[in-house]
């Protein structure tokens, strides 16, 4: 199994979710995150005091998939997340040893 993690622009969430559902993904986890890449942050002004806000809001999406689906699923996520502008985010995958479905105790791919 692989864990696919995508850190993307918050407003792309619905597109990505729909694309993943269409691909057949049964479940995912979304976390509100903040961070920066080459995009860096932005500047805010409060009563004339300028603040550089480095960490901008992002969404982290995590999906567990079987090994053979991983490459294709990454493509699906990247396609749905892309706007072509700076700050679109990153997608990566890592190997996963095991997974357990809490309710039934099923393990491995059966738990997905």
């Amino acid at each position: 199994m692989k864990l696919i993690t995508a850190v993307v622009k918050p407003h792309r969430l619905d597109e990505i979710k729909d694309a993943l559902q269409a691909f057949g993904v049964q479940g995912l986890t979304v976390t509100e995150a903040s961070g920066y890449g080459r995009q860096r942050g932005h500047t805010e002004v409060y009563r004339g005091a300028e603040y550089t806000v480095d960490l901008v809001p992002k969404i982290r999406i995590e999906v567990l998939v079987e090994d053979e689906d991983a490459e294709q699923l990454i493509e699906v996520v990247v396609k749905a997340a892309r706007t072509g502008k700076i700050g679109d985010g990153k997608v990566w995958s890592v190997p996963v040893d095991t997974a357990v479905r809490v309710r039934t105790g099923e393990r491995g791919p059966d738990a997905l």
Binding site: V45, R47, G48, Y51, V102, T104, G105
Partner: protein, 458 residues
Amino acid sequence: MPPGITLAADTPQMSAANTGFMLICSALVMLMTPGLAFFYGGMVRVKSTLNMLMMSFISLGIVTILWVLYGFSVAFGTDHGSLFGWESDYVGLGGIGLNQLWDGYTIPVYVFAVFQLMFAIITPALISGALADRVKFTAWALFVALWATIVYFPVAHWVWGTGGWAFELGVIDFAGGTAVHINAGAAALGVILVIGKRVGFKKDPMRPHSLPLVMLGAGLLWFGWFGFNAGSWLGNDDGVGALMFLNTQIATAAAMLAWLAYEKIRHGAFTTLGAASGAVAGLVAITPSGGSCSPLGAIAIGAVAGLLCALAVGLKFKFGYDDSLDVVGVHLVGGVVGSLLVGLFATGGGQSKAQGLFYGGGLEQLGKQAAGVGAVFGYSLVASAVLAFLIDKTIGMRVDEDEEVGGIDQVQHAETAYDFSGAGGGTAPRTATAVPGPVQETAQSAAPSAQKNKKVDA
């Protein structure tokens, strides 16, 4: 504050209309203090929101009690040496009859006392904005009590009390430009020079955590300010209160637009904080002046105040004093602007015959205004700094650095402002028997739900 209305050879009779109006105005001014709490509370970081709210709110408690015991007597009792009042009938508000009218007016003493009480409450609360994030709550409570006693009550007497020196000199302060705003702004400056900056001032970002809360507070202040200003004429027999009401709206609008225009040109955006701050700057500046200027004069006063206050809020970074929420930049500067501009814009057709420079009155009124501004500023600055110094040397003004950095709310109030966490709180019994897998139910796993539901992990 008007000179007593004397109807030809008559003693004034109680007016139900004026009395009702003034009771409503008193309630409006009361609402300004929670409004101020929101205005300030939204501007601090999440970790000190409650402390900021409470610094204003506590004044509703402390000053009310002091006012009943002796505050009203010191502020509005029989004059002693033009500096303070004292009237034994006013102590405990005990010797005042139900039908006893405030001298020369058509409203009962009780109504005048409760209206003025609301001013005494909000003035120390205004100071709190400069002291965000770092003052021990007990020290603040003590400061409020001492400051009201030593600074506000006497200064209110100077400015509004019969026999008070500024009142007799002819300083025009319709509703509190000197007694409330310069007084609070100078006090804020005095205290922060003693207690110093927040940890991380100029280094760490200190963004307002909730601008909607700031806007809500500004809205409540604007609303309540109609009572504060129009009510200060103590009745509606001659239209001056209506002029004040109108000018309050006009100057506030002008100041908001001026601040926003400055911001857009200087920083490239119309900010909500700028709109809220500009409105408050306009309200402050029209407070002393609205009863004596024309509607066009109110536009000028508001616009000048909005612009100068927008410039003034940057000074703290230049000079390195931590006026956290710009009490000096908005209330002191706005109060000074409004008080001095009376000397230019007084038409002679409003609350008094005194005319400003632009209406052929020469420099005389401007000189009187400057005397009032200078005296209140000097006295409040020094007295407040001394009070803060004494409290600092005894019980200490500031919380520990760790407590300040970690968040004053938890340390001083044992609460946190917001809980958005969805985690925790699950005490429903589990259907352990339904688990078919390798998970083994143990005796321990049921134990947590048996605990009393008091622990919160946020």
